[in-house]
Structures are given as C-alpha cells and as structure tokens.
C-alpha cells in the first residue's frame, strides 16, 4: 500500500535524482541545443570524469567532486581540441550533421576502448565521508550520496545560468545559438565562440562524472546507458534552454521515482518516456522551447 510517507519520499528522491540528471544533460543542452552539434559521445566524457575522480580518490584520497572541479579546465581544453578538429573536418565544409554524428560515435568508441584498456572492465567506486550517512528528518530520507551531487548539480546549472545570461561571452554563445549568421555579419568570430561553448559543455560532462561515481559504481561502458536519457531530457526541456533542462530533468526524476513507488520500478522507463511523448505532443518545442 502506498502511504503519504512513501509518496513524499519518492518526490524528494526524484528531485535529488532529477538534479543529477540536469548536470549530466546540461552539456548536451549546450552542444546540441545551442550549437546544433549532435555530441553522442557526451556520456563517455562523463565516464572520463568519473575515472579521473576515481584515480585521484584511490591514490590520494581526494574528494571526487572537488577533483573534477579542479580537473574541469582540462576537460574544457579537451572540448576545444575536439571542436577544432570537428570544425575543420566537418562543419567548415557543411558536412557537420550526419558525418559529425559518425565522428562523435567514433570518439565515443575510442574513449571507451581506451578506458577499457587502461582500467579494465571492473566497476569502480570511490570512498568519501558522505557515502553512507543519511540526513533524514520527519520521515524523509536524504542520503548524502544523493544530496551532495544534487547540491553540486544545482550550483553548476546556476553558475551556467548566470554565465549565459550575464557575461559577455555567455551572451555571445546565446547569440550564436539564436542566429549565427547575423552575428558573423557583426564581425564576430562565431567559430571561436562555438569553440568556447563546446569546451564548456565538455567541462560540465567532466564535473557530472564526479557526481556519477559518488552515486553509483562506474565501468567504461556505462555511458551508453545515459545516451537516451540525456537527449530525452534535452528535447523535453526545449533545445538550448538551461531552465527547461533543469525542469525536464526534475520532472523525469520525480516521474521515475513515483512510478517506481506506485507501480513498480520496471514501469518507470515506460511511464517516463510516455510523459516525454505526451509533453512533446502538446508542446513540440519542449517545455521552455521557443
């Protein structure tokens, strides 16, 4: 029997889960929603972030989330390097969309196999003080293992919201997303702006990797599990909308946990994606899409 206590816990857990989903999706929102780059390899960069957190945690005992924040500039540079190659090979010749998709598939497999060869196929976990404790109150469970990534995720998306809305570079990226051609007529180097944006997208993936390995064990091929989910949230939120991404992620998280509680967990993916289809049927551009 489903009690009020169970339901409220399901909602709270769904919000925590949704917050994490927002962090793993925000990079896709930037790359796919704003730059029109179908970076299907995004989840594998998340796994890379997880492995960076794992190595540093295992060998030096550092906090996995602080580790990925420190490592974020490296992911940013990696993103820039990948974009430069992608731009030179595909986008500059107008062959970005389909061939670019194949390119990112290739990137995904190369990184996955590299991780496999380097670290093997075992599941990796990290040790931190916030894995295990629970800060529940009034019959509500708040496992720190979920709370800390949630807080980190919200800080990440809030930072990006401020960056895109209130900084010169951020507004330039938004302008590229709106009308690249018009921006180029104003003598703006749109390629450089897109390059920066893609770097930011990959940096967010690295940070999300730190959150992921706190929540669950990670192996090199785990990224594949997230491809469908992150693109679904991105589309549901409305392409290119950070607010929409957060709302969509929270909706998906809450729908999953409530379904899991009421009907059983095996129904959760079906109900979640039915909610996605229903939303898109009513509002094809997504929740915050224009």
């Amino acid at each position: 029997m489903v009690t009020f206590n169970l339901l409220i816990n399901a909602v709270v857990t769904g919000i925590l889960l949704g917050g994490f989903y927002a962090a793993v999706t925000i990079g896709v929102t930037i790359a796919f929603g704003m730059l029109d780059i179908v970076n299907i390899a995004h989840p594998v960069f998340i796994i890379m972030g997880s492995f960076v957190a794992y190595i540093v945690n295992r060998h030096f005992g550092f906090d996995p989330i602080l580790t990925v924040i420190v490592a974020a500039p490296l992911f940013f540079l990696l993103g820039i390097a990948i974009f430069r190659f992608y731009y030179a090979a595909f986008e500059s010749s107008g062959k970005g969309s389909l061939r670019g998709l194949a390119f990112f598939f290739g990137i995904m497999f190369v990184i996955e196999v590299t991780l496999l060869l380097a670290f093997g196929v075992d599941y990796r976990l990290v040790q931190t003080s916030y894995i295990g404790p629970n800060i529940g109150f009034a019959h509500i469970d708040l496992p720190l293992r979920m709370v800390v990534p949630f807080v980190g995720s919200m800080a990440l998306v809030s930072g990006l919201y401020i960056f895109f809305g209130h900084t010169f570079i951020g507004r330039a990226i938004m302008a590229v997303a709106q009308d690249e051609f018009a921006l180029s007529l104003m003598a703006v180097d749109t390629v450089a702006v897109k390059q920066l944006a893609f770097g930011v997208a990959i940096a967010t993936a690295g940070i999300a990797g730190g959150f992921l390995i706190v929540i669950q064990p990670v192996d090199p091929s785990l990224g594949r599990e997230y491809i469908g989910r992150v693109f679904a949230i991105c589309v549901l939120g409305g392409l290119g909308s950070i607010t929409g991404t957060v709302i969509a992620a929270l909706i998906l998280g809450v729908v999953e946990t409530i379904t899991s509680t009421i009907f059983g967990p095996s129904w959760a993916p079906a109900v979640s994606f039915a909610a996605l289809l229903l939303t898109l049927a009513i509002r094809p551009s997504g929740i915050m899409g224009r």
């Binding site: 029997m1 009690t3 206590n5 169970l6 816990n9 399901a10 857990t13 769904g14 889960l17 196999v113 496999l116 093997g120 196929v121 075992d122 599941y123 990796r124 976990l125 040790q127 894995i131 295990g132 404790p133 629970n134 469970d141 496992p143 293992r145 979920m146 929540i215 669950q216 064990p217 192996d219 090199p220 091929s221 785990l222 599990e225 999953e256 946990t257 899991s260 509680t261 059983g264 967990p265 095996s266 959760a268 993916p269």
Partner: protein, 450 residues
Amino acid sequence: MTRLKIKQNHDERISSPKLLSSESSAKGAGLTRRRFNRALMTMSALAASGSLPVRSAIASEPIKIGFGMAQSGPLGGNGKAALLAIEMWRDNINARGGLLGRAVQLVYYDDQTNPTLIPGIYSKLFDVDKVDLVLGGYGTAVQAAALPIVMQRKQVLIGTGAVAVNEKYKYDKYFQMLPNGSTARTSTSEGFFQAAMTMDPKPKTVAIVGAVTEFSRNVILGARENAKKYGLKIVYDGGYPPNQMEFGSILRSVQAANPEVVFVASYPPDSAGVIRTAYEQKLQTRMFGGAMIGLQYSELKQQLGPMLNNVLCYEFYVPAPTTNFPGIKEFLAMYQERAKKAGADLLGFYLPPYAYAGMEVLEKAVTAIKGLDPNAIGRYIHANTFDTVVGKVTFAPNGDWAKPRLLYVQYQGIVGNDLEQFKRIGTQVIIEPQEFAYGKLYYPFAASGH
C-alpha cells in the same frame, strides 16, 4: 565481423608442439571424420612431394578451442578472469606436451556481454577459424544464444556459467560448469531460503526484488517457488530495469511491506546500489541478501567493505575449512599472481576455478576417448565423475551439475576496505549447504549490521 572488437587471440605462446608417437597418432587421427580427411590430404600432399613423414605434419597442427568471452560490457570483469583461468590451463597442458600430443590453441572473441554478437562469433569460429572444440562464454544470455548454433553443428559445448539454458533444448552435449545444479532455477535461491528457515522464530514473509534480465528473471521465478515451498508469504515482488540507478524508492517500498526476509537478484552495479541504499536507509529486516552478482568480485568486496556485513549472498568458492579441494590453493596462488599483471579479478574466487575445472573435464574426456569426436566426448562426460580443482564434478542429463553446490555465505566482521581480509577464513562464513557450513547465521540484519 568488424564489430567483434578488441581481440582475436591466435595464441602466440603455444609451447613447442611435440611430435606424436606412432601410437597416439594412430589413436588420435582415426576418430573423427575431419581429422581423417585432414590426415588423408596431408598424406596425399606429402606423398606427392615425397618429403616429411606423415605423422610429424599432423602432430604440428594445434587443437583449436574457440569461444566468445565477455571482455567488456557488464560481465566483462568475470569474462576476463575466466579467460585467464582458461589460458592457465592451456599453458599447463602445452607444457605437459599438449592434448593428444598436439598443442592447444585458443581462439576467442570479445562478445561484449552482448548476445546479438554470438551468432556471428560462433559462425566464424566454425566456418573461418575451423576450431576443433568450442566453449561457452560467461552469462546466461550469451550461452542461450550460442547453444542453438552449437547444436546445429552437433558439437560439445562446455559453458562457463549460465542458468537453465538447456532446460528446453535438452541437448545431450551441453555441459555447464557453475554449481547451480540441474534445477538451477530453484537451486540458485534454495540455500538462501534454507538459511532463512533456520532463524528462530521461523520467518513468515519475504520480499523479492530483481533486475528484469534473463538471469534475474530465472532466479526470481525460482525464488517464488522456494518461497511457496517454505511457506513464506511474498509481501513485495518487484522487478527493475537493467539501467536502474536509484534504489531508494524500491527499498522504501520494501520496508513499507515489512518483510522478515529480503531476497535480491541483481547485477553488479545494482548490487552495489542496493547494498549502499539498504545501509543508508538502515533497512529493518531479519535477513537480507540473495543472488547478488558482483559481491563476489574483488573490486566490489573491497569498496563496499563493512557495508557487506551480515549480507547473505551466494559465492562459488570462499576459503573455508570445508572447501579445501585438492589443487585449489595452488591454482589460486598461481591465478592471483597472474591476475595482477592481467588486470583480472585479484581474488579469483568466483569464476576462475570453475572455468579451469571445465577445461580439466574437457581434457580428461578427450584424453580418455583419445580423440575429438563430440558424441564420444559427450557420452564420456555424462558417464563419469571428474576430480577437479573445485572438487568432484558429476553432470546431470541436462548438463548442469548433478548436485547443486551454491555456497550461501554471510559476510561477517569485515573491517575497513582491505582486500586481504577476504582471503582469511571467517570473513565469508558458509551458512548453506550444511555439508560445507561451518559458521553461524547472524540476524537480524539491521541491528547487527549497522
């Protein structure tokens, strides 16, 4: 076949093949049509050229053993460990002069824990690589995909690990090395329920949770049958999708049903998630555990550490006064040495001894019949009991072990995250079956576990 990535290992480390003696050559060559034809062609060619004696040409040709084995994907860790054990057997037999006097060569592909790749892999093994013998990889789904192809070729299939794959086919040349027994569906959870019924007072309710996958589905069906058999009322019965990452809502629903026993059938990442969540929520129940794949792996044992305390889970082998099978210590010492370099599971308790034992069975059968005839090998394996590193093995008509021997083990006194403690007797106490039990079941789960 370009998707069959990473590895095709045509062994380069084969020991120098020895020339057959005239006796073994005659015995070995006369038993299969393929070998007969091969010998005939070789004889014709050599007769035409007037060169080397016939028997040295035959002897230099290795026996090829082909298989798909997960080296990536969810069960890649197990596959890697199993492969290392099979390679150890190969090195061992080649050092002893080979099988039937011929060097053994392994031909394997990474099946990526993906059953859709299996038809391609086994077709290539038979048609392109021309293997003499085949093995099954690790996992129910991949072996279920391989079995029909092997049946079509009328070959022997010795599987590394699967549950109830041959239940419907009843193929007489299929053998499965894991000790789930011929009634694998129910015997996988039997020890858990037997242990539960030793609690005082006897439990009356059970919750069953499991992944919606081939393995878990079979185990859950068996767990339901066992719950009925032992008179337990199922108060929660839920499956979850394979990519589930949040178990809080599931375990809260379980807790709300207030079961005395919680049985979980899960895959490695889920097992870690379920145990962490149970620990965080301070799950209140008398007994907790089940067929949780992953808890047997070194990495998860080490990382979960004290969270494992009082969990009752199955293992295939743990160091115990009752599991001192001849050769097992030597095997594990050698395995653990090689595993460090190979990047395989460091303890090697789970799959490697059984993968190695499977090769011992095959070796004994081939040696006894002095040939590679699949029908003769199948008949011999069915008719005999084998002394292996995992003890005596006898097969039931469906190819599973005649007598199940899944060890239900309770983790006790785990302190910190040191892996070495798992090599000690007493940290993984065998509770069932009684024949191997040497410790006491601690319950309730929550009170002593936290």
